[in-house]
């Protein structure tokens, strides 16, 4: 007789739900699904498996130029977002209208924007907002998502059903649209509304991954054995399930960090993300876009910085995923 087989059954595989901008946030999901499938082949024991998986991955990563380059790039970005003065001596808000849209000159290698501000200084200072939003939003979404998703996967039942439907609802709302509606009423010039919004729409994606990998980990023989031996829920979750479920979440979170930075820029571009006087690549790109015919340099630098930052995080996540995924070698 036919085996009951339904790939859409909860826990088996969910349809990839786009997050609305036809875009970046889906990458993580796609990657994680393939990861989830391939992390299953298990070594002998729980501790042993976790250790060899990670040390094996680390061994491979150290020799992967993509990983090393993106890691160095990210470190650099983090450092200059904390101490932008290290490489930029000027003040991003001090502008000279008489230099509006002028090209590069000594001391001002990237030229000036419409307001006459130094593009180089603004590009350097722009890292701060992007990195802050990216890291805070990712940490928030990852904590909330893995907590809710992990619990749903571990306990199952109605809690799982409710969570899955709630996640579906959030997937049903196009991201940019939600951002426009929610953030257009905000007047704060800090990064927090944007962070909050990204966490709000980002957690279901992480939750889905966490849930899936917890279910997978839970079905492993040694976890079943631990349960048979009378291990309590708390101990099981912490000692046996969590260490094995955490890899996909980390990978997805890394890739998501890149896409969140891109999302922040997109929202700022539309005028509902960060607001002046916060220095943001998205705002600068938005200002430069309308002037592209007169002064393309204004667009080039912040856009380049933004793209490289996003690329660095996505490549890092990609490299980590490859390392954790023995099947793809």
């Amino acid at each position: 007789m036919p085996e009951p087989y339904d790939p859409l059954q909860p826990g088996e595989k969910e349809v990839i739900a786009p997050t609305g901008q036809g875009g970046p946030m889906d990458l993580a999901l796609e990657e994680a699904q393939s990861l989830e499938k391939t992390l299953e082949p298990a070594g002998p024991g729980p501790q042993e498996k976790a250790r060899s998986l990670w040390s094996d991955a680390w061994h491979q990563l150290r020799r992967n130029p993509v990983f090393v380059i993106s890691l160095l790039l990210i470190l650099f970005l983090v450092v200059i977002s904390i101490w932008p003065q290290l490489i930029a001596s000027g003040d991003p808000l001090q502008c000279d209208l008489s230099k509006s849209q002028q090209g590069s000159e000594p001391g001002h290698p990237f030229g000036f924007d419409t307001q006459g501000c130094d593009v180089y200084t603004r590009t350097v200072y722009g890292a701060q907002a992007s990195i802050t939003v990216g890291i805070c939003a990712t940490v928030g979404a990852a904590l909330l998502g893995s907590l809710l998703g992990g619990l749903a996967g571990f306990f199952g039942g109605w809690w799982d059903a409710v969570l899955s439907r709630v996640a579906d609802i959030f997937f049903g709302i196009p991201v940019i649209l939600g951002g426009l509606v929610l953030l257009s009423v905000v007047t704060s010039t800090t990064v927090w509304p944007v962070v909050g919004f990204i966490v709000l729409l980002g957690w279901p994606q992480i939750a889905r991954i966490a849930r899936g990998s917890v279910i997978t980990a839970k079905q492993n023989d040694y976890v079943q054995a631990a349960r048979a031996l009378g291990a309590g829920n708390g101990r099981m979750l912490l000692r046996h399930v969590a260490p094995n479920a955490i890899a996909p979440v980390i990978v997805v979170a890394t890739i998501a960090l890149g896409t969140y930075i891109s999302l922040e820029a997109t929202l700022s571009f539309l005028g509902v993300g960060l607001r002046p006087p916060t220095v943001s690549w998205g705002i600068d790109i938005s200002n430069a876009a309308s002037q592209i015919r007169n002064a393309p340099h204004m667009l080039l630098w912040p856009a380049g910085a933004l793209s490289i930052t996003v690329l660095a995080f996505i490549m890092l996540g990609d490299a980590v995923r490859d390392a954790l995924d023995p099947k793809l070698r």
Binding site: M1, P2, E3, Y5, R329
Partner: protein, 327 residues
Amino acid sequence: MLLEVRDLHVEFKTRDGVAKAVNGVNYSVDAGQTLAVLGESGSGKSVTAQAVMGILDMPPGRIAGGEILFKGADLLKMKEEERRKIRGADMAMIFQDALSSLNPVLSVGAQLGEMFEVHRGMSRKDARGKAVELMDRVKIPAAKERVGDYPHQFSGGMRQRIMIAMALALEPSLIIADEPTTALDVTVQAQVMDLLAELQRELNMGLILITHDLGVVADVADKIAVMYAGRIVEAAPVHDIYRSPAHPYTRGLLDSIPRLDQKGQELYAIKGLPPNLLAIPSGCAFNPRCPMARAVCRTDVPPLYEVTESPAPRTSACHFWKECLHA
């Protein structure tokens, strides 16, 4: 001779070096004959078969030398298009796991009929009729009703019958069966094996049966080739081997079959592990595990000795085959 493999060498490029999977294999099969190839996993028995079929993954695989003569012509010298026309039509293969070897999204009728469409240029409708005939032939009940069903709707034994039907579709002169019953329940194993043997007799095909199950071999094989670390260590008519093996590895294999008259005694097992193909031991590859090993075994690769006692041709790759034979 229907098929003759001469001094075949196959290598695989891996991250850690070149793995020598097949190192100078010789064997032959005639029409109507059954050759059983025995060996542990990694002994090169499946790789040799894949090289014969021409379905090795290249790269990482590479045929480093030798000849494969099929009806007198060297397959390795043929153009891919010529080989393709032989594959499936005049030489077919049965795989171990029928569930994964059949395409999950095509009906079994379509997969069987495809053979006739591609090799015989039949219309889809005629090919479908042929598919029903084939399913009848391998004794699948209600073939006509089930021809549109998908592989997952059949039981394991029925799926393996479909694999057999697919291999037999164009009545090839050679069939290679790679562990055809390993994935099946013990009760079904015998049925499938009997069916295969019966069809072989009927069509007078050559059959290469790859297995690690000595029980299956005794019933159906005419001759046996035992492989170890990519070489044939002993080749002989089936009864000679069971009576008196001429290689310590064969002896070890035979001794490790559980027997009822030894109930209560400890089971024999060959000590050690199969060799690492990246670093095959020098001399005789079996020497680290061999109870009879001496100094010469660690230095000199044993040639294939003619074991002359039997009227049928018989060879052993052991320096001390005589000792082994009379032990």
